[in-house]
Symmetry: C2
């Protein structure tokens, strides 16, 4: 494994990366429906056979898009997380950076949603194929929770990031439907949710509320499974 | 208007009702994708032109399906609601009867979802075209809340049915993904949600919780608008 970073990529690896880059630009500029393997091959200057050798379907390229978006999400959030200890502020950073990464795709969001929403779709965000991209999001929320200066009660710390990921998927669903300029209604909903979270967090220490809150996190864990 | 109930339907009204009935059977047996205007016309023994005269697209027939499902939902729930005064029990009746009406369509749920989920789709449950069917559901939840023997605090009574409708749409989304026999995971999730509601209801009277709860209902109202 040592020195792997300085081994130059093979020709095959370069071709793969080039096809991938062309596809990501196409998804961003043309959307899901109008992007085809034939078009990508043409723009990448390779044959359809070569494209299929590296990516056996358009949906495999969508998975590359998901990874690209979530890696950019992580890179945008990391320096901001390093600078804040406040739990609600940290959670807000992860949500806001996530929405920012999506914004370029908003014109095509309905067609991505139609293609991705079926439980049979390999580009469904909850499918096995999408698990690596979703794991990046979950890791970010876990880092936001675990790295806060005032920790949550231990009994909630494990389940809470799951609930935040589910809320992130629902927020993204709302965002698809949001036709306001710059999707400002989605941003307003997020800020409202964060204010509510700040109001609700001290309540997690009330003995009377511990059971309902644990039950709520258990219910959310059921939704994700 | 008087005596309208005994005026026999015109030939045109009978043709319309017949086409509609044939389409509803087709949606139930073939699903969304395989049901076409051509096939419905053929099975109804009328021309494609006659079918298009009464229903200008397949999606207009889906609206008839929505109304049929929600009218059956109301008919199933009404006698049960009349027999119970307990708020959580009444809410459970509306959810359970709603799931029961959907169960025949589960094999085709992914294709209905793909067709309906886009914000541009006229069969999206939140579209203007679907408003009459959704109003039936909201009316049922409002009746469940307003007719309970122990009333909710007044400040929550208006917003709560909205929140229940939103939860119903999310439960239906979970149900589409539920591959367990008889969708028993959806039913288990519902029962868990109802237990949580029973646990949480007394808390609506705690002064400390009123503001977060009002904020939560305001947030939900934002989601629906």
């Amino acid at each position: 494994m040592f020195s792997s970073a300085i081994v130059p990529p093979t020709k095959s690896q370069r071709t793969r990366a080039h096809i991938r880059d062309v596809a990501l630009v196409s998804f961003r500029e043309r959307g899901y429906d109008a992007t085809t393997i034939r078009l990508i091959a043409q723009e990448a200057g390779v044959s359809v056979g070569t494209t299929n050798y590296h990516f056996s379907s358009k949906n495999h390229l969508v998975q590359e898009l998901y990874l690209d978006v979530q890696n950019a999400h992580r890179e945008a959030a990391a320096p901001l997380l390093a600078a804040s200890g406040d739990l609600v502020h940290r959670i807000g950073i992860v949500y806001r950076c996530g929405l920012d990464q999506l914004s370029a795709y908003h014109p095509f969001a309905p067609e991505f949603l139609s293609a991705a929403v079926s439980p049979r779709s390999p580009i469904n965000p909850l499918s096995d194929e999408s698990a690596p991209a979703l794991a990046i999001v979950e890791g970010l929320f876990r880092e936001a929770v675990d790295g806060a200066s005032a920790a949550l009660p231990a009994e909630f710390r494990d389940g809470f990031p799951h609930a935040l990921v589910l809320a992130h998927l629902l927020l993204a669903l709302f965002w698809v439907y949001d036709r306001s300029p710059g999707q400002k209604r989605t941003h307003a909903l997020l800020e409202r949710g964060l204010r509510l979270l700040r109001l609700a967090l001290p309540l997690t220490r009330l003995p009377l509320l511990r059971k309902p809150l644990r039950e709520l996190l258990d219910l959310v864990a059921d939704v994700k499974a």
